[in-house]
């Protein structure tokens, strides 16, 4: 447990908590400025989330991909890489799953795992491109993965429109039932909310994220490279290979997120004008969670809940749902500028510190 204690300490909870509070306040100010009632808005957000089992189930559905993309970003962060390309890897995961799900005809116990695996590998390899470019050519992974995001979008559209398309529509043929990973009894239980196995896989991935990085020799290498590549190199670690490996694993997590959107939720893939943004939200989730396993999980719940609940805000209080993007943006802003938050907290913390001194 020593390691776990090192990962979670007091300030790692305090800063995000204050950041969330400040973010909600910024959102409230924006609503007041726009002439809306923030209290009504936030309460309709909560009501949307908990009013019915359908809505709660759908909120869980919205949270699930964020857990995957959050872990993907956090994993890369821990190894010193900023994987802004999760968006594209997510999309490649979707495409991989759709290809296998639509074109093959297999018994379910082979078909579903094969579709999942294909999507995960698609995501991993797509991320590995950025890793290889960085390791071999020194290309900044931020720039290359932004480019790869756009390429993934158009490549996926091309594959769907050219090879998998349902005649006359802007989407693929439906994925065969044998590849689908919905949980029918839970769907009944949650009043037709789209529940699927991806949620459980996401939780397993959270555990995997912890075990991989903090419980294996490879994980130690990955973190060492992230901490100080020069020292890692001096200690005899292969920094370049570690970078590619880290990007691949990060991409697998991202790809899995995309896989379950297809196999668990939609059952088909559309031709998209723009990407969904789960990858970019994953960055937010990872930052808020301090790149820790539990933190990412909590961050995903917060952002997924806010995003899903925002439709309730526009319905219940007439507030444009984009105000939630302002809240999310502000929350990460405050987490990133923790100097600002500490400065803000100084009067409170200072008093406590001086009291402690008196006690001594």
């Amino acid at each position: 447990m020593e390691n776990a204690k090192k990962i979670f300490n007091k300030t790692s909870f305090l800063i995000p908590a204050v950041a969330i509070l400040l973010g909600l306040i910024v959102g409230a100010i924006a609503m007041l400025a726009g002439g809306y009632n923030p209290i009504l808005a936030y309460s309709s957000l909560l009501e949307k989330l908990f009013s019915s089992s359908y809505n709660t189930g759908e909120a869980i559905r919205a949270i699930t991909p964020l857990i995957f993309t959050g872990i993907a970003v956090a994993f890369a962060f821990r190894t010193g890489l900023f994987n802004i390309g999760v968006e594209g890897q997510f999309m490649m995961g979707m495409t991989g799953a759709t290809i296998v799900g639509v074109t093959l005809d297999l018994p379910w116990f082979i078909h579903a795992p094969l579709a999942v695996l294909t999507g995960a590998v698609f995501g991993g390899l797509w991320a590995a491109i950025a890793g290889v470019l960085k390791a071999s050519r020194g290309v900044n992974e931020v720039i290359s993965s932004i480019m790869l995001n756009w390429i993934a979008l158009f490549l996926s559209n091309f594959i769907v429109a050219k090879f998998l398309v349902e005649k006359g529509q802007q989407k693929s043929r439906p994925v065969h039932d044998s590849a689908m990973l919905t949980i029918d009894w839970l769907i009944e239980l949650m009043d037709k909310a789209r529940m699927h196995w991806g949620t459980f896989v996401a939780l397993i991935c959270v555990a995997l994220f912890y075990m991989l990085l903090w419980r294996t020799k490879q994980g130690f290498e990955l973190r060492a490279v992230g901490h100080n590549p020069d020292a890692a190199l001096y200690a005899g670690m292969n920094v370049n290979r570690t970078m590619v490996k880290s990007m691949f694993i990060s991409g697998v997590f991202a790809g899995l997120g995309g896989v379950f959107e297809i196999l668990g939720v939609f059952g088909y893939q559309t031709v998209m004008a723009a990407s969904w943004g789960y990858g970019f939200d994953g960055i937010a989730v990872a930052l808020l969670g301090g790149n820790t396993p539990v933190g990412v999980l909590l961050g995903a719940i917060l952002f997924g809940g806010l995003t899903y609940g925002s439709t309730g805000m526009s319905f219940g209080a007439g507030v444009p749902s984009e105000v939630v993007r302002i809240v999310i943006g502000s929350v990460i802003f405050f987490v990133a500028s923790h100097g600002l938050v500490k400065w803000f907290l100084k009067p409170f913390l200072g008093r406590r510190a001086s009291k402690r001194k008196e006690a001594v």
Partner: protein
Amino acid sequence: MNVLDTIGQLINVTLVFSTALIFTALGGMYSERSGVVNIGLEGLMVSGAFAAAVITDYASQAGLSASAPWVGFLAAAIFGVLMALLHAVSTITFRADQTVVGVVINIFALGLAIYLTKSLYEGSGQTPQLDNVFEKWAIPVLKDIPLLGRAFFTAYPTTYIVLALAFISYFVLFRTPFGLRLRAVGEHPSSADTVGINVTKYRYIGVLLSGALAGLGGATITLTTTSSFAHNTISGQGFIALAALIFGKWNPLGVVGAALFFGLAQALRNFAQLFEFSKQIPVEFYYMLPYVLTLIVLAGAVGRSNAPAALGQPYDPGKR
């Protein structure tokens, strides 16, 4: 359509697409030359595009006509500066991670712009089509030169402005004390500090200039191409500008060249539909083209160490 005309038209459209990219990439250059990474260019462009659409609309309603887009253009720069101020305060004063804050700017700016659009226009996520936008200027006499006239001398005022700005930037950056100091701050802030240059001040100037210029870049798209603002008005142009900045090796003239290259890649996509042979290639590949080219260029042509040496590192005078 004859060949000469088509080529002239292609160059002309390239210039239209490139103008916004040059504005934004020049902005990014000022920020990154001072040592501050600016991934938020996309968000700054969104802010500019939004402000240009709304202010031009209001100015038109207030009775201005031909001057309305100029008011909007100016407002875009101001709005961009305000958004960049957020970036500057957190990354320079509070030493937050520059890449992360850039991502925040992107999320925040788009959210804010759409939120305000919906608040101002009764729930519509798009501003109304503007009546007054920039008109192309045809330079007398020069416009009648075959090919060149059509290509270069019938363009939007923004194109002429941005090309002048690129040359001015080159002069400022490499021929003035200000430029020398800005570059010094980006290369080796502690040395710069030692000789009495105010690192914080120069970094603020760099980041705020990037806000103003990226704002103008966004405004260019609203006022010359789309005539309105919606969530997809910018869609990735800021990131392409960032790529142009890197491809152009953080040099104003290099940036112009790179932006023209990306503009051409975008223009080709429109022209691909005109000919039988180019229609054979699926349209998605034309969409991909600028991004694939960027990757190839980054992997092949750009060496490892062209970026300002202190790029991405917050300056902490207490550290050695």
